[in-house]
């Protein structure tokens, strides 16, 4: 049986090749056929997840919640020392220095990254902003979020921290960072579905935790821009999902 693997589409395009190299390394280590499919949008990937077409996934926290709670996926490992954090920024020429300076009617530029959008809306709460008194412009990438700000089309933009820090110096010079999350426990995780046996999952975990210890494994990690993998128990993942559940701004009292 060929295992189907995918990766949350929010990693920088420069590391696409790295995930294919990882897939090849994994097949050799496990002596199993694994087919990697990358999707260019969260929605396209979500459709396949809902159809049960994936066995292994490097999942963003939002999809991890669905897969663990509703589809019986289990945690294999998590990347070392890497949490998903968010930056909210505006154009440098705007008279805004903190989130509380933003007012009702603010236009938000954002991608369709569900985790970033969840955390971004939470970070707007100190300004009493929510879905009912803001409007959103959805774009395909973080550089396009920056472009919306620089062109004056949006008052605030949501960025994955890594993407914000990867913007060119020229683009960054036109932006003002308003707030940067320090949540620490929301992170991507590698999950295995019910089609992967407990024995295979355990073997995979052991392989990944030692991946940075040999030269070939370390080179593969470098090509994916990951420092290594660390243990992340099922309870760690359940805790992360509980925490994300508390951040849903739609349910807050008026």
């Amino acid at each position: 049986m060929t295992l189907q693997m995918t990766v949350s589409p929010d990693f920088p395009p420069a590391y696409i090749a790295g995930w294919y190299i990882f897939n090849t390394w994994l097949q050799r280590q496990l002596d199993l056929p694994i087919h990697l499919t990358l999707y260019d949008s969260f929605a396209a990937q979500r459709t396949v997840l809902e159809q049960g077409g994936i066995d292994l996934i490097y999942a963003n926290p939002y999809d991890a919640a669905f897969l663990v709670r509703e589809r019986g996926f289990v945690t294999v490992a998590a990347p070392c020392r890497r949490a998903d954090e968010v930056v909210l920024a505006c154009a440098q020429d705007q008279p805004v220095t903190c989130v509380e300076d933003l007012g009702p009617g603010t236009v938000i530029a954002r991608t369709d990254d569900p985790d970033v959008n969840l955390m971004g809306m939470m970070l707007l709460e100190p300004a009493t902003l929510h879905a009912g008194n803001t409007t959103c412009i959805a774009v395909d990438s973080y550089p396009l979020v920056a472009k919306q700000l620089l062109q004056g089309q949006a008052g605030v933009g949501f960025f994955l921290e890594e993407a914000f820090d990867s913007l060119s110096a020229l683009v960054r010079s036109g932006l003002r960072e308003l707030v940067r999350s320090r949540i620490s426990v929301i992170r991507h995780v590698l999950l295995a579905g019910p089609g992967v046996s407990a024995q295979q999952t355990g073997h995979l975990t052991r392989l990944l935790l030692g991946m940075d210890q040999d030269d070939k494994g370390a080179a593969v990690l470098k090509s994916m821009n990951l420092p290594g993998w660390e243990a992340h128990s099922q309870e760690d993942t359940e805790f992360m999902i509980d925490l994300m559940d508390t951040l849903d701004t739609q349910e807050l009292p008026d």
Binding site: S181, E238, L243, T246
Partner: protein, 152 residues
Amino acid sequence: MDGYQTEIRYFDGHSRAALIREQEVSYPDGRLIVSRTDTRGIITHCNQAFVEMSGYPEQELIGQPHSILRHPDMPRAAFRELWETVQAGRKWHGHVKNLRRDGSYYWVLATVIPNVRQGCIAGYTSVRRKPARSRIRESSELYARLREAESQ
């Protein structure tokens, strides 16, 4: 140190003495204060933001009731509602004025959810974030009215 000593009475009947100071500590931008308790409300886990904002070292917090943060300006009815909600398996949101170890205070927007494992409540997770100043003003007024009603 300025401030005054008072006795904090909890909705379940117990009480403790605490120092109260009229000094607010601002909620740090971008942070979440996270803690977990067992089903009795005893702290089993807290993050660094919790330690920093509460003013207690972590080793003093673990094993203590979560009500160690209870400020006397909070009405007992708010916590009664919190417990009734989460024990029924539902999520609770509310603005809370918390007491620091040094007697000063900080406001949070708190969400508490039951940790359901294998169909049973195994404990509770509480996540606090930065509240809007307008909500703090509204909550202060509401809580003052509730406390007055409780004292009659």
